[in-house]
Symmetry: C2
Subunit: 353 residues, 2 copies
């Protein structure tokens, strides 16, 4: 049986403790400095406060100061912080990782250089831990449509373990696979990580339709705006595929669990959709950010800011064309410049004609 | 200004009278023998009873016995019956169509020969009117995510006019395009019609997740089954793409409004989803068909019956492989053999591994 340590005890990391601990593995949740209350709650009552669920017996929890002990003899090291904590997590892992360990990331997102060159998060982590240590461990990630709470209550969930080494992926998948947690593997690491990061962009836009209904006083009307949402979804899928290819992934990855599947689940609700709904109802994004949803983690908005900004230098350098990514460009104007909701339909799908 | 006649006055045909009449065209709705009350209602009160909306002033309505008058000098002939009425519509059109008219289909569905060879609906219509008349008119269709009532109340709707002749498509698109009805054109007629027909298959499966929640008494629970729905959606998209290619369409069509977009909107609700939800809750399909939803038009179930049955001879003939279309094959066992809900997850995405 393996020892699995998770850096971060948020809802997704904790949800993953269910299938892995039920397979007999020893699971250790290490809270970050922001997770102190979570760890206290699990220690005292066994309950994860944000999930609202009892963690399985046998799952061990650690405050951050005890991380060294939790990491020392672990076989698998999971990075479960959100994308805003990635640089912090990199610093921690630089001190905690041991040669021979298998790293499995659940953090999603993207970083970009000034010239628009984009990097998926495992690359950022590798850089943070340094080339020597990075080469002494293996790197993999989990992607796919997986709402944490649904997994935690054992509702069927289908995901992809993606990474560089098929043997490692097969081993990791076996550790987590159960009759409700269905796991596929893929060595298209870049493609899957790109899909996982960019799908959040389009979840923000998925809220616009309901926001428009709110604005029009039609929230409970007979005819809503599914046509609107479907067109946004289709254009989003088109752009997601192009991002996957732009970063060097396989186009087919955009079709699967880590592409269209993940975009579907993310569009069904959550914080990004809620923020988009406010914008749809007529609230400038700056007001959503600074007031209505102040302090709320918005991975989709973060992705729009990083990736949307990268599109400008990429276009100037001729890497992409001016009419590529019209929806992502428009969403960037919404979050960076408070552009009002005026969907550029005619630019979608290669231009209305 | 053009004269546009619609055979069938159901909700979709009538919804299309809004953008076209607002563009100044003369629109004529001809009811089928099943639409008698609809036509009477519009004549008496201007209201389409199923849409619950007033039809635009100037839209003319006809009972079936007056069809000849409505068709005589029309420029565009639309076929707006449902797929069950297609053979009937073909017979009508054989007597009503005039050389030089442009046919625009909104009916969706598929027919198959005994050896599994599948035919999209415009082909079936062409055959019904005979080769001579078929060659004297043009053939096009409207596909894409378009809930009729949403279009009728002027909510943004994005569609594709697909057909054989780009010039005709450009002309037809111009007749219908407004600031809320956004129209693209494509000459991938087969691909788009295949997407439009097969997306209904997966809408049936889109109801399973909620049905499972009903069965488990979790209908209003905090954690639902979006992960389940997303995995079904992703596998559906994969199969839809393969169907498009199998029939000779372009793979890229599966990405757009007529593929993933239409599948998204169809998965959001409607009769097929409702039927799937009953199955998810544990009701054998035969009971849904013969009792709970007796007499209700289920285009998705019809598609499963036609296409699911065709997979067997296609497999025997080596046209497709045994592990192709696992979700469609499973859904066929549900509607044809009352198979219980037991999703074959491990067969999806090329096989769990």
């Amino acid at each position: 049986m393996a020892k699995i340590v998770m850096l971060g005890s948020g809802i997704m990391a904790t949800a993953l403790s269910f299938p892995s601990s039920e397979n007999g593995h020893e699971v250790r949740l290490v809270g970050t400095h922001l997770d102190r209350d979570i760890i206290d709650s699990i220690k005292a009552k066994g309950i994860h406060p944000d999930l609202g669920l009892k963690v399985n017996d046998g799952v061990k929890v650690y405050q951050l100061e005890d991380a060294e002990e939790a990491f020392a003899d672990a076989d698998v090291v999971m990075c479960g912080v959100n994308s805003f904590g990635l640089e912090w997590a990199g610093e921690q892992l630089a001190g905690l990782l041991k040669p021979g360990q298998d790293v499995l990331c659940i953090t999603k997102g993207m970083r970009a250089d000034e010239d628009g060159t984009m990097h998926v998060l495992p690359e950022v982590l590798k850089k943070a831990v340094g080339p020597e240590l990075a080469s002494q461990v293996s790197w993999s990630a989990i992607v796919g449509p997986s709402i944490a709470g649904e997994l935690a209550v054992h509702h069927d969930t289908c995901v992809v373990f993606c990474g560089e080494d098929q043997e490692v992926l097969t081993k990791l998948a076996d550790m987590f696979r159960t009759d409700y947690y269905h796991v596929w593997t893929s060595t298209d690491f870049i493609g899957h990580e790109t899909g996982a990061a960019t799908k959040n962009i389009y979840a923000f836009a998925a809220g616009f339709g309901d926001g428009l209904l709110d604005k029009e006083g039609k929230t409970d009307a007979k005819y809503v705006r599914f046509n609107y949402g479907a067109a946004v979804f289709a254009q989003g899928q088109k752009e997601l595929r192009q991002f996957v290819q732009l970063l060097g992934g396989e186009a087919v990855t955009a079709d699967g669990l880590g592409g269209v599947g993940d975009m579907f689940v993310t569009s069904m609700g959550g914080r990004n959709v809620k923020a988009g709904r406010y914008v749809g109802s007529g609230v400038p994004f700056s007001e959503v950010r600074d007031s209505l949803m102040k302090g709320v983690t918005l991975e989709g908005v973060a992705a729009i800011q990083v990736i949307g900004a990268a599109l400008k230098p990429l276009t100037e350098r001729g890497v992409i064309k001016e009419d590529d990514f019209p929806l992502c460009r428009y969403l960037y104007s919404v979050v960076a410049e408070d552009a009002p909701l005026e969907m550029p339909w005619s630019l979608f799908f290669g231009g209305e004609r």
